[in-house]
Symmetry: C2
Subunit: 368 residues, 2 copies
């Protein structure tokens, strides 16, 4: 297992990550507190897709005393958005709606340029725009959603990046991010830029409130460094809530744009979706006859994960599907056909809203 | 002797610097070529105050074939400007007027913030403005003078800093600038920002022309790195022309704002100037009687340097002054009184023009 901000490989052991990264598990008590504000627990909390945090309790303590928080998440625009990227964004939208709070969303077109020798700035800027369309398509409201495009908005970020950068030594950066002598100096500086949206709200509004970051757990190292310096700069430490990765359609590993045949992209056509789903790895057996007799294994099945992460809201129905799979009552074909249809419908709607987003996207650009 | 972009200590051996830095001496042939375009040789060339270069010959070759160049220099705004800072700016103005070319002038308020733990950004931004007034007071024309304030203009610079930073490894930066594990990551990144004004002209105008940098030789390491990557990015290597430091009023070493009693600041009053000059180190003897008999040594005299660098344009008169000093015909008091008057008059005029610059300074801000 390798989990860094730039690379996730192998079968991810989330309990081990909690230990290794030094984060806190989302406890029953915390989930109950969240439930109090959100009416019912979101599927992604109830199923422990979000499973770990830093300082969520402190953020809720402040909230109960009248200090709001802002949400902050983002995307490294290295290519098209796949459905795995949408998972934490869907949860972020839920949090924004329930807590009626502002979201800062950073598109790191500078980072993706710096870390990949083969890519030019035009390309990452292009993907930043394309990826923003996917965010908007999910239903975020422009008045509360502030998209930051790093290379367009550096005038706004720069003084804060300097304040952050001055307080991070090369030695700290190297040990946190694994920098080497051959790392370019832009990459070395970049952690300062990812820290800034944690603090930008005060600059824009004068309000000093904490940022809560919903993100996949591989991004945690950035916030560790940011947390170390936040208070020196007069800000709250950014809090985090960490999610798992939606697995890819192959055997093990997260969905990754670098393996397009195992990823469902938001712009995929129904035909391509069907084909990819049909070729997906499941927990099924060699023959239908065998599977009817001994059942299949949903815990290793990439298709079952779609019901778990996204398409089966109803716990009882999910359990029933699991039971039917395990005892051989339902074969993989049925499950695949069903997911392909659900995904097709979801993407058809998403693609329509994504097209419309082209007219409104400018309203989401961070307002000065 | 220590000469780095951040520190100059001891008696500077300029011939040794040419060797150590690997630059070229300004030859008779080059001076003659310059003279052809400028009518007569500027005092600072004739007296070898500018004494070394990189690629000045290449810039003149291009010029003769019809490709112009732009000038680029700058200032780290860590405090008030002293008269030693004005020396290369006066030469830069001469070059701008004779070659009718554009000047980019970078005020590195970000650098000065990053390299000094005790200074805040407001302070370096304040000094950037104050220092710009001194530049404008020298008589630069706004239509051809583009001042860059790093923290204000990062929106314009940022994409180019990324292109540069991506091509400089930490290892190169460390060996060039002596970075250590305790260096902050802002400082590590910063050389990319100092490189960008070499290339900005193309972004603003579409014209690809070389930049010629008149600057004190301690800044050379920055341009070495910039020269290494310029052609990969499709630009000319920046050319340089290097000057000596105006010595301070103490015994040896450059004029330095950190030793205010040995520096003449542009805002000093005539009384303060008189006092500082009166206390200055000269090549004089213990008593007037002894000096009348054995003469003094102008080569180690900080006062004589003022005639040499600035106030005696006429070679014959300079030689006559040297002769009278050496043979004891003229004592230090006379020389000091004369320099204090000349400096007083120079600063009075400068301060008037500096006051007026407050009305026009905005016209010099880099135009998009």
């Amino acid at each position: 297992m390798v989990v860094t901000p730039w690379e996730v490989k192998g079968k991810v052991d989330y309990q081990r990550l909690i230990k290794e990264f030094g984060t806190q598990p989302l406890t029953e008590d915390l989930l109950k507190r969240l439930e109090r504000y959100t009416g019912s627990l979101h599927l992604q909390l109830d199923r422990q897709i979000f499973f770990s945090h830093r300082d969520l309790d402190a953020v809720l303590d402040l909230y109960e005393k009248g200090t709001k928080f802002v949400l902050y998440t983002g995307r490294g625009p290295s290519g098209p958005v796949h459905i795995g990227h949408l998972v934490p964004w869907i949860f972020t939208l839920h949090m924004q709606q329930k807590f009626n709070t502002r979201l800062y969303f950073q598109l790191t077109d500078d980072e993706k340029f710096l870390i990949d020798d083969s890519v030019d700035l035009k390309t990452t800027q292009h993907w930043a725009y394309e990826n923003a369309l996917d965010l908007v398509a999910l239903g975020f409201k422009p008045e509360d959603t502030f998209i930051i495009y790093d290379t367009q908005d550096m005038d706004l970020l720069y003084d804060l990046t300097l304040e952050v950068a001055k307080r991070i030594t090369y030695s700290t950066a190297r040990s946190t991010f694994g920098f080497q002598d051959s790392t370019n100096i832009g990459w070395v500086y970049w952690p300062a830029i990812q820290a800034v949206p944690c603090f930008i709200h005060k600059k824009l509004t004068g309000e000093n409130v904490p940022a809560l970051i919903p993100a996949a757990i591989d991004q945690d190292p950035y916030w560790r460094v940011t947390r170390d310096i936040a208070q020196k700069l007069g800000y709250y430490k950014p809090a985090q809530i960490h999610c798992r990765f939606l697995p890819g359609l192959g055997a093990g590993g997260k969905m990754s744009a670098s393996m397009p045949e195992t990823s469902i992209f938001t712009k995929d056509s129904p035909e391509i979706v069907k084909k990819k789903i049909w070729n997906a790895f499941t927990g099924g057996k060699g023959t239908a006859a065998e599977q009817r007799k001994t059942g299949a294994d949903p815990t290793i099945c990439s298709i079952f994960q779609y019901y778990f992460f996204l398409f089966e809201q109803d716990k009882t129905k999910l359990a029933e599907r699991e039971r039917r799979c395990k005892c051989g009552e339902m074969l993989c074909g049925e499950c695949k056909k069903d997911v392909a249809e659900k995904l097709g419908k979801f993407l058809e709607e998403h693609q329509k809203r994504r097209e419309k987003a082209k007219d409104t996207i400018e309203q989401y650009h961070i307002k000065r």
